[in-house]
Symmetry: C2
Subunit: 271 residues, 2 copies
Amino acid sequence: MSDLSAIPNRRQRVQSAETGMAVLKGLARLGGRASLTALAVHVDESPAKVHRYLASLMEEGLVAQDAGSQHYHLGAEAIQIGLAAMRQADPIRVAEPSLIRLRESLEVTCFVAVMGNKGPTIVRFEEPGLPVTVNVRVGSVMSMLWSATGRVFLGLLDGSRVRALAQEEWATASADMRAMLDATDPIGQVCEELRQHQCATVRDTYQRGISAVAAPVYDHAGHVCAVLTALGATGGFDPSVDGVIATAVRREAAAASALLGGERFVVVSAP
Amino acid sequence: MSDLSAIPNRRQRVQSAETGMAVLKGLARLGGRASLTALAVHVDESPAKVHRYLASLMEEGLVAQDAGSQHYHLGAEAIQIGLAAMRQADPIRVAEPSLIRLRESLEVTCFVAVMGNKGPTIVRFEEPGLPVTVNVRVGSVMSMLWSATGRVFLGLLDGSRVRALAQEEWATASADMRAMLDATDPIGQVCEELRQHQCATVRDTYQRGISAVAAPVYDHAGHVCAVLTALGATGGFDPSVDGVIATAVRREAAAASALLGGERFVVVSAP
């Protein structure tokens, strides 16, 4: 998210502001409350120095001290800053660099989709120099059952609405389409795939000749707020769950999740 | 929450750390994202100075910059700090000073209750020098329908569980007890009282000779995580919704909510 090239060099920054932030982050890393001693050890500074920074953090309401234990803990202002950070955290914005990296490193078509009122909807789309011909673009609503994107939402989002959309698709699907899925429990099959691999892969199911791999982006509350998908021409594109592409898509989805505060919800799938 | 007396004087603090925190808080106040110009105006510093602090905040991952708009926004570290602050925010701890203030300013018995598995449960209890005799203490589970405390949870907590507890009470209550409530819709009556006044008041319903006033404490997500209650001997204690005690209890519950990041959920009741 941060444009590193835009960061001025050390001379143009404020060292003691950075130390203050390091103390604040240290207190958060320690679970939001700690003794002066434990915090000083964690940030590798002298207790006397850390105490002065804590005094400033208390003055600004970011830290408070228990009268009893004398331990320090994050204060109300820290909650306010976090709430503001979460409210403005945008899965589409944070996933954009991931799309660029996927396109450039793997030369694949890739996109970000969110759950719209009609279903999984593409909101950002990136293509390599020589794109494959696909029938989706920004604004396209994907299938819940036959697209990799839809399967991630179906497999990981709670709520009856997602299942209702999938059941509707199944009810109105042709015999050929149904034949691509588990006839007895198509939705359960999809959910099981997600639980196992934390990504969904399809080959020729949503569009003939196209394979795709999709992985979830989690927000700070652990909700799947977006799905990152890479696709390519079947044959030249490896959709296997442990392939190079699936690994990269999962890695980028995890990176986007981290920027939204959701990294602890990312399940590292078994190799 | 912060023990101000423990804050060293300005000489013992770090001015530029405080300025850095002020910039961080300013960005949060502006919704978590802003231009350098807007932020400099908001914190009343020169753009050049604010830019240096933003560079340090970016270095620490608390702030990021959009490559396109060049606007600054709160970064992933700000979310992490907020999440840690919320996880350790303890309604019981933050409500304690409120209990002390209520006891000392009004000389009332007061307590904090949370929703336990058996119902509203008292977790902190404060008594004045000359306490009234009450049949509750720390650990007591209160009635959902006949205690002011229970009524706040019943009126403001979602979920079938609270309603089930109340229905169970109603089903097993004596005719005398039922006579104290609206016979047609006792639960609806309680919910309506809460909507109207953002507090619950009882007179002689839970214990004969005792009146009480209770108000909700909201967490950062808007859930009622605790209830603040003051009680006293009927006659010497004014339980009216716009009385001195109800006003003080609502004010203290709002103060505790603010420390938990929930002040925006506090409804200021009509006078």
